[in-house]
């Protein structure tokens, strides 16, 4: 079975700037994959090459085994891309927009599927309104719908939830998850790392056009072993306990193994203090991301 996306030795040079620097990446069919990185890391450039919006300087990229340059018709049919920018055509309604997009992919009479997408994205009552009159969130939903009109096996979402409300996020992820369960490969870029942590099975992190980490979300999270206990005490702890000051008068204890926690609590009791409240914090993707990006 061919990979959903295969990228080999991909380089993109914009005059003085090397946006992608020898990227190798393979995303399996059916994966929910996260593409993370700070601004300017090359995520959008990579997606643009996959979608045929940008020509690679060197290297090759394939969607479902179809080369994006040589076999662009089939590779584009296999890909649905939600662009980062909130773009729309002000001449048309949402439904006209979706019908036109279907036609661009050579699909006639797509109304049943269009109705299905409109319904699942909460757009049915706005379908016949001009795009100009829709709110930002609704326009974003139409963008997602446009990427899905041709039922692509691979869906790429470039920061689809940037600046949108909680309702849309939930509606969107529910729908995208259901598509992923049906076998669609989903590639997501986002700055909301909790979304990537919750949704993605595997994650690639990019920095300055290079892949600096590529692993399953679980393995990435387990790279960072530090846990934190945030304690509210009824007095000032002795300095030798090594507690750091936290927010709101709390004290923070950083430890590697849970076995270290009980001795610390015992030391606090021995110092004549009582723990009034305690919260444990696990390392999250943001910690891992920050560490990897800082150290790479």
């Amino acid at each position: 079975m061919s990979a959903a996306i295969r990228v080999q030795g991909l380089v993109k040079q914009f005059r003085q700037v090397r946006a992608l620097n020898d990227i190798d990446l393979e995303i399996k069919q059916g994966e929910f994959f996260g593409l993370l990185g700070p601004n300017g890391a090359g995520k959008t450039t990579l997606i643009s090459i996959l979608a045929g919006l940008t020509h690679a300087t060197h290297g090759k990229a394939e969607i479902m085994g179809f080369d994006v340059a040589r076999d662009y018709r089939r590779s584009r049919r296999a890909l649905g891309m939600v662009p980062q920018e909130l773009v729309y055509d002000p001449f048309f309604t949402a439904r006209e927009t979706l019908r036109l997009q279907s036609g661009y992919f050579g699909i006639r009479k797509n109304d049943d599927w269009i109705d299905h997408i409109l319904d699942h994205l909460g757009l049915t009552e706005h379908a016949d309104k001009n795009m100009r009159t829709l709110s930002g969130g609704m326009k974003r939903r139409v963008l997602v719908a446009q990427a899905l009109v041709h039922k692509p096996p691979v869906i790429v979402l470039d920061e689809p939830t940037a600046g949108v409300d909680v309702d849309l996020r939930q509606t969107l992820w529910e729908f995208i998850r259901s598509l992923n369960r049906e076998g669609h490969t989903v590639v997501l870029t986002t700055h909301y790392l909790e979304e990537a942590e919750t949704l993605c099975e595997r994650i690639a992190m990019l920095k300055q056009g290079r892949v600096v980490a590529l692993d399953s979300t679980r393995n990435l999270l387990s790279r960072r072993h530090e846990h934190q206990a945030c304690l509210t005490l009824d007095g000032m702890p002795p300095a030798e306990l090594g507690l750091k000051t936290g927010a709101g008068g709390t004290w923070v204890y950083v430890f590697q193994e849970y076995a270290q926690l009980e001795p610390m609590l015992a030391a606090i009791r021995k110092a004549g203090l009582t723990v009034q409240e305690m919260q444990l914090a696990e390392p999250d993707l943001e910690d891992v991301f920050t560490e990897i990006i800082r150290n790479s």
Partner: protein, 251 residues
């Protein structure tokens, strides 16, 4: 629907939805030209024997309106799509550069034709036009609007801002169309300007088109058709080359 026919349909729908601006306005403008010039010059100028100045003026006005609107259609559609970003919807689709070119060109030719027919219908009140060589008219119309449509695609690809497109329109298209013999015969010009007019391809479009109506022209119509056909092939080839490379569309 195929990708090509969808893009063509979208381009037609785009200008038809704002037909007041894209069709009616140029028809009114042409009518104003006709009213003013025919009122001022009707008694003073006779270009061809037996043909009044108003009658002489009408074919040139029709052709000029068709050319300007064929250019405006493809260029404004492309620059708007580029600036608003919705060009991405077409670029991610499995369309070849040839389909892209054909759809934009055909839509622009059709807009030119619709405006031309509109101007022709309005001028019925002013004068009665003979129609001696309709087949030649079809060739001159198709090739000439095709040239301006292709130029519009090039301008739309090249321009990054609306003022760059306006410069293209005001400093190239307008002078070429106004100085092409729409309002006069080049035989009434001094020698230098007569010679200069022969370097203006729009002159051949207007002169050949006028021959289709009257059977009279400044130069032989076959020469005009040849020049127009060569220009069409050259600009189309150039445009296709740019589109194939994705010039300012695919980075």
């Amino acid at each position: 629907m195929t990708a090509f026919s969808t893009l063509l349909y979208k381009e037609l729908l785009r200008f038809w939805k704002v037909a007041f601006q894209t069709v009616l306005a140029p028809v009114i403008t042409a009518m104003l030209y006709l009213l003013i010039f025919s009122h001022v010059l009707e008694e003073r100028v006779q270009v061809y024997p037996g043909i009044s100045y108003t009658t002489f003026l009408v074919p040139g006005l029709i052709m000029m309106s068709m050319l300007q609107n064929a250019f405006a259609n493809s260029s404004s559609s492309l620059i708007q799509s580029k600036i608003t970003g919705n060009i991405v919807f077409v670029l991610v689709a499995p369309l070849s550069y040839l389909e892209f070119f054909s759809a934009y060109m055909l839509a622009s030719v059709i807009r030119g034709l619709v405006v031309g027919i509109g101007v022709g219908l309005v001028t019925v009140w002013f004068t009665e036009l003979p129609l001696l060589h309709p087949v030649w008219l079809i060739f001159f119309t198709a090739l000439s609007t095709g040239i301006l449509a292709a130029l519009g695609i090039v301008a739309g690809m090249w321009a990054e801002k609306f003022d760059q497109l306006a410069a293209f329109q005001n400093f190239l298209i307008m002078p070429l169309t106004f100085l092409s013999g729409v309002f006069y015969s080049i035989h009434s010009l001094p020698d230098f300007w007569q010679a200069a007019s022969h370097w203006n391809p729009v002159f051949y479009m207007i002169d050949g088109f006028r021959w289709g109506f009257f059977g009279l022209s400044d130069i032989p119509p076959a020469t005009s058709l040849l020049v127009v056909a060569v220009c069409f092939v050259a600009i189309s080839g150039f445009t296709l080359l740019l589109l194939k490379r994705g010039y300012k569309l695919r980075h």
